[in-house]
């Protein structure tokens, strides 16, 4: 009897938990994109600092990435195709984490450029790769919640499905 009550309560709670996750993830991507979009050259240099691709490729990636982040943030904010949006967010986060891990493994001393223009670190500052990865894993958890439980409150999905 008690477990059934608990599970009923969880069923009622999930849409709210997912809503918080959705809005949180939207804020993450909007912030990350808006911080970079006013200086695309700097964003390109931040990508180049990872030394994973040629500078010309890095410039294109650096220019496209902030726009993608903003668009994804807006999609999550309005709640359109939440499961797919969350899946794409998770994919991006996995790519970012892989980039940080590879920079760490190669001993590069760079700012991840997650919420900044990035680049090399000033002398005397050490890279906080562990913390950056931990933070991104936290965001990945938010995306994971939405992948499993994509039903949220105040979403366009809900509106279109005729839920209330």
């Amino acid at each position: 009897m008690e477990t059934r009550q608990l599970s009923a309560r969880m069923t009622a709670a999930w849409p709210w938990i997912s809503t918080v996750a959705r809005l949180g993830l939207a804020a993450v991507f909007l912030t990350a994109g808006l911080l970079k979009v006013n200086d695309l050259a700097a964003s390109g240099r931040a990508v180049n600092a990872y030394r994973l691709m040629s500078y010309d490729t890095a410039k294109v990636v650096g220019a496209v990435q902030p726009f993608l982040e903003i668009a994804l943030g807006l999609l999550l904010l309005i709640g359109l195709a939440v499961r797919l949006s969350a899946g794409i967010a998770a994919l991006l986060l996995v790519i970012f984490i892989a980039g940080i891990v590879s920079a760490w493994a190669r001993g590069l001393q760079i700012d991840c450029g997650c919420f900044s223009k990035g680049g090399d670190l000033a002398a005397g500052r050490t890279a906080q790769y562990g913390l950056e990865i931990l933070r991104d894993v936290g965001f990945l958890v938010l995306a994971g919640i939405l992948l499993v439980k994509p039903r949220t409150r105040f979403s366009l999905d809900g509106l279109l499905m005729g839920e209330r």
Binding site: D39, L40, A41, A42, G44, R45, N48, A49, R51, Y55, K59, V60, A63, V64, Q65, P66, F67, L68, I70, A71, L72, L74, L75, L80, A81, L84, S85, I88, Q109, I110, S116, K117, G119, D120, L121, A122, A123, G124, L156, D157, L160, M161, G162
Partner: protein, 249 residues
């Protein structure tokens, strides 16, 4: 079959049809919202690409390159010695200031002894650090005009002596002009600073710097080889002297 039973069957059938309709609607919504999401992301990506391509085009066509600049028009040479030192600095960068304090005299001596040619690359990677006034770019643009008038090193030194704090507004254009006056730069200099004549060119210098795989300032390169201090840090004047001696062979 009783009448009541038939009623129940009909109601059940209606329910099934409704459920199927609802499921079909959900599928439709899922498909179309997914299409919309992909379309929005593709469009956003294309906008980014478009903005980037457009920026490149305007940069290439509207850049005024200082005629005295060397190294494909991206640096100012000081001295005439056989060993080339490429020095990439940002006027906002405090570590560059430290480097100048530590190694400035050594560089001056090496230049005076005709041992080295120092090529100053005035990059702007810290435009973020001046509350939106883009001090790095403004200072580097002003230095380019100083170079045109033969006063690059003098102006460079006075800018470091008066370096604003990182994340302050930076020096105003008026202050940049005043500092120019203190080293003998006049009206032509003031005009160039006010018109931002060389600001677009600074972006090209910064781009060249990044295309060579450098990310941080100061970056010191002796005869094509990047010089680093202990633990990959900034080289000291001792490191610099040794590297120049080694390059002389």
């Amino acid at each position: 079959m009783s009448k009541a039973q038939r009623e129940r069957d009909r109601a059940a059938a209606r329910r099934i049809v409704e459920q199927q309709k609802a499921a079909a609607k959900r599928r439709r919504v899922t498909v179309w919202t997914s299409v919309a999401v992909v379309a929005v992301l593709v469009i956003a990506g294309l906008i980014g690409w478009g903005v980037y391509a457009n920026q490149n085009k305007t940069d290439a066509s509207s850049v005024a390159t200082p005629s005295v600049a060397v190294d494909d028009g991206t640096a100012f040479a000081v001295g005439t010695g056989p060993v080339t030192i490429d020095l990439y600095e940002d006027f906002m960068c405090p570590i560059c200031h430290q480097f100048e304090t530590d190694s400035g005299a050594t560089l001056n001596q090496l230049v005076a002894d005709k041992k080295v040619t120092v090529r100053y690359h005035t990059v702007a990677i810290l435009d973020d650090a001046s509350n939106g006034t883009k001090y790095s770019t403004r200072a580097a643009g002003a230095a380019a005009e100083a170079a045109q008038e033969g006063k690059f090193k003098e102006y460079h030194d006075v800018l470091y002596a008066n370096q604003p704090e990182e994340n302050s507004d930076g020096l105003t254009d008026a202050k940049l002009i005043d500092l120019g006056k203190s080293v003998g730069l006049g009206d032509a200099f003031a005009t160039a600073v006010n018109n931002k004549t060389y600001d677009a060119w600074v972006a090209k210098v910064t781009d060249t710097f990044a295309s060579r795989g450098f990310n941080g300032t100061p970056t010191v390169v002796v005869n094509g080889k990047q010089l680093q201090g202990a633990n990959g840090g900034v080289p000291t004047h001792d490191d610099l002297t040794k590297a120049v001696e080694a390059a002389e062979g």
